[in-house]
């Protein structure tokens, strides 16, 4: 096997006294999509945020996280991101008060060409709504913006947290296709509840349970073994399943 792009070893996170991750270890392959699975509240988001250095201030992280030979722990988030770690958060976090264009402009990096054509080709909606304030976009539109923002730059690894949450089936398909194309050129660590999406994208899978890695290996293998999936994820995968796991839009919009 090729050298992993990211290695998580014995990662342990406590937040406000709760021991959320208790010694999680897994590699992320240098190509394709590695998907992180697990029930609600098991700590998937916590894992991604620990990798990108966004654990809340009352939290404590132990263990090692390495990208190549470089340790990522204790380095400020903005440096990690500049070094090629792209992050799309669970609740999207677009800047509600800025326009779509400004949201994108913010993601530009000094000294690097911003790939606007790639983003607009994937999400033509963003180009049309360039002057609309991001806060007034619908949930799905905001998700597109959040993904678009990170695709503006070349990254060594993308961390994406539940990108299809709250998206209409049609948009889920679109986003999945986009991610599939993205994964051709860069590795992705994906948190996803929608098993249909997982089936389509994932090469490797890591399943978390009770704060630890319960299973790791080939994703398609996992999905084929109904019994295994059932025991790990609590659902059968006998037939293509438009998962109920599709989550809803959160964030600052609507309501």
């Amino acid at each position: 096997m090729m050298e992993p792009v990211l290695t998580v070893e014995n990662l342990s996170v406590r937040i406000a006294g709760l021991h959320i991750l208790q010694g999680v270890s897994f590699p992320v392959a240098p190509t394709g999509v590695t998907v992180l699975l697990g029930r609600n509240g098991v700590g998937k988001t916590t894992t991604l945020r620990a990798i990108v250095g966004l654990t809340p201030r009352n939290g404590e992280v132990r263990g090692t996280i390495r990208m190549g030979a470089q340790s990522l722990l204790a380095r400020p988030t903005y440096r990690l991101v500049r070094n090629g770690l792209g992050y799309v958060p669970e609740d999207r976090c677009v800047f509600a008060g800025l326009t779509v264009a400004e949201n994108l402009r913010l993601a530009e990096r000094r000294g690097a060409e911003a790939a606007y054509d790639r983003v607009f080709a994937l999400f033509p909606e963003l180009e049309r709504r360039a002057r609309q304030r991001a806060g007034s976009l619908s949930g799905g539109q905001q998700q597109m913006l959040a993904i678009g923002r990170v695709l503006l730059n070349e990254n060594r690894l993308l961390l994406i947290d539940e990108p299809t949450k709250g998206l209409a089936p049609k948009v889920v398909t679109e986003v999945t296709e986009v991610l599939e194309r993205v994964a051709e050129s860069m590795p992705v660590l994906l948190v996803e509840q929608n098993l249909a999406v997982v089936r389509r994208l994932a090469k490797d899978a890591v399943v978390l349970a009770a704060g630890q890695v319960a299973w790791a290996g080939d994703a398609q293998e996992l999905l084929l073994e109904t019994a295994l999936t059932k025991s790990l994820l609590g659902v059968g995968t006998g037939e293509p399943h438009r998962g109920p796991e599709q989550a809803a839009a959160t964030g600052k919009d609507a309501n």
């Binding site: 949930g139 998206l167 209409a168 049609k170 994820l233 609590g234 109920p244 309501n255």
Partner: protein
């Protein structure tokens, strides 16, 4: 039971919700689907009074409630959940539900009684928690719950209010696959009781198809169709606008 008459909400020139006529019969379960940005959440906001309609009326039991503030509508039996979980983060889970029960039992000012002493309220709250399977998290602070757990708490808050018309905004969002059937069962049981009506937005078609008596499809703020699930699913426009090609 609940009806909207040409309900419209404009921001500037744009109609976010565009002349919606809806009728919800007692005991009926109406699913609402539509692409992202179709105006589903906005419609809920208009019905519950969080936003003021620019045009049109909302009727509950034939009574015009368009100009009532949110809490008055709640008294009349209108309850909702939020798409983005909105629970009382600094209260414990149990306190959250107790507050909802208390609100339902009449919001008179009680400054001098001990809240904890009210056994009836506590019992009702625990019952609601039990129903969504959160009883074991009763003492946790609601703010520290994982996303999925907050969704359940949202529903418990709604249950505690015993509303006659319930508006559920993507209740399944972020709920573990494992827990979905359980939650679906809870929601179904709601409708069975005493002619309660439900209006539910959900992107998850399985759930909608399983629960809904009728499905309304929204697109660009307007009501595209409102019919039985079979008819709606067969509708070509709906296919094209919402479902897209299957994965």
């Amino acid at each position: 039971m609940l009806a909207t008459r040409g309900l419209t909400w404009r921001i500037g020139e744009v109609a976010i919700v565009d002349g919606v006529y809806l009728d919800l019969a007692p005991g009926e379960f109406l699913g609402v689907i539509g692409p992202n940005g179709a105006g589903k959440t906005s419609l809920f906001n208009l019905i519950t009074g969080l936003r003021r309609a620019t045009d049109g009326r909302v009727l509950l039991d034939g009574k015009d409630i368009t100009d009532l503030p949110p809490h008055r509508r709640a008294w009349l039996g209108l309850g909702r959940t939020f798409q983005a979980s909105s629970v009382f983060g600094s209260l414990s889970v149990r306190e959250n539900v107790r507050l909802a029960v208390q609100a339902h039992r009449g919001g008179s000012m009680k400054l001098w009684r001990r809240a904890a002493a009210d056994r009836e309220v506590a019992a009702a709250a625990d019952a609601a928690l039990d129903r969504v399977g959160l009883a074991h998290r009763g003492t946790a602070l609601a703010g520290t719950l994982a996303h999925g757990e907050k969704r359940k708490l949202e529903i418990a808050l709604l249950l505690a209010g015993e509303p006659r018309v319930m508006l559920l905004d993507e209740p399944m969002a972020g709920v573990s696959a494992e827990d979905v059937p359980e939650l679906v069962a809870v929601i179904r049981s709601l409708t069975g009781e005493s002619g309660r009506s439900v209006l539910m937005v959900e992107h998850h078609m399985d759930v909608i198809l399983e629960l809904a008596d009728r499905i309304a499809v929204m697109h660009h703020g307007a009501l595209l169709a409102c019919d039985t699930p079979e008819t709606v699913m067969a509708n070509a426009t709906v296919q094209e606008a919402y479902l897209g090609e299957s994965l």
